[in-house]
Amino acid sequence: MSYDHSFVMICPAAARAAVEQFGLALGYSGQEFTVPLSSSGAEPATHYGLHTWALTQTVALFMTDAAIPGISADQIAWLRTTLIMSSSTEMAGAAHFDAVCAAHRLSRVLADSAP
């Protein structure tokens, strides 16, 4: 197994809690969308994003019409219309994440300084 797909997901802030509940059902932490985003880069965040390295089958699960175990067809349809998703084997990491954000006119909300 090789985690060779750079994978970006962006979720509207208002839908974040509901989307994270689906993540919990799939065995994820329920706190995956950790990068605050907004159109200006200033607070408040209007969206939250994540970047991860993913297996081919994981990308296929989210980005095709495949059934997702434990989630109904209606819920899957809602997820796919709610989330911005992008997979790439050409771009990686911050470059991929920032490119997806830019395509949707979003910027990271950066704290003044991290502890």
């Binding site: 985690y3 994820y28 990491g93 502890p115």
Partner: protein, 273 residues
Amino acid sequence: MLIAPGRIGIGHNSRAAVAPAWTPASIGAQIWFDPSDLSQMWQERSASGSGVTTAAAVNSPVGTIFNKGSRGGVLYANADASRPILRFSSGVYGIEYDGTDDNLISDVASLYALRSVAGWTMCVAALKGSLETDRRYLNVATTSVTTARATLYKPTGAFTAALGRRNNADGSASQSFGALYVSTSHILTAVADFSAQTLTVRRNGVQLGQNASFLTAGSTPNDGGQMGLGCASNGTSPLDGVIYQAVLLERAIDAGETASLEAFMSARSGIAI
């Protein structure tokens, strides 16, 4: 020609003296994260280190890494999507951070306490992949994760820097250097000596500079507690690059120890010094 077993060497029953290999443990490192040791990393996330079952593998996520230093303990990613990836390239292992949300942090106050120490030393072998600022190589903050206590990082501006403070009453003191170390692997060493009030920063075995009035007198002991590797102590400010090795000691090390430590980092990372 066949050689009889037990007869190789300068004489039967003779044994050459072989010194043990030098490692950061040789100088008593309290913190040592070693991505080249796959037995110390796991794909699952665990704040305590318990319950992990899937060993780390190249091109797979690192959810938990054990500290090989004397303090023990673990760092873990705070979300599944935030696990960095173990890479192997040109004979060198490294943990790759995505510069977006990847992190490895300690549970609050469980790993480390910079309290009543005479100084500290941080040394990392790393690659920084972009110009993004305020990115952390190694960081210790207060237990409440509000203030950095000791940090090697890339601050705003074209510098590599070390930052730290001895007491809560101190303002932070930092030492920055005017060079961009992007897309180039490097070994960074910062040594804070509280008695001499100096903070010295080195790159690839060469001193970059020294703050000779580092840290002032204060009344409240430093209470550093939470640690971040390749990120701030709360998991933000992730490095966009690779960590090959990271070491922290609760004292200032001398010149000889520094040379040995940097030579070790060079051997494990392939970075020339």
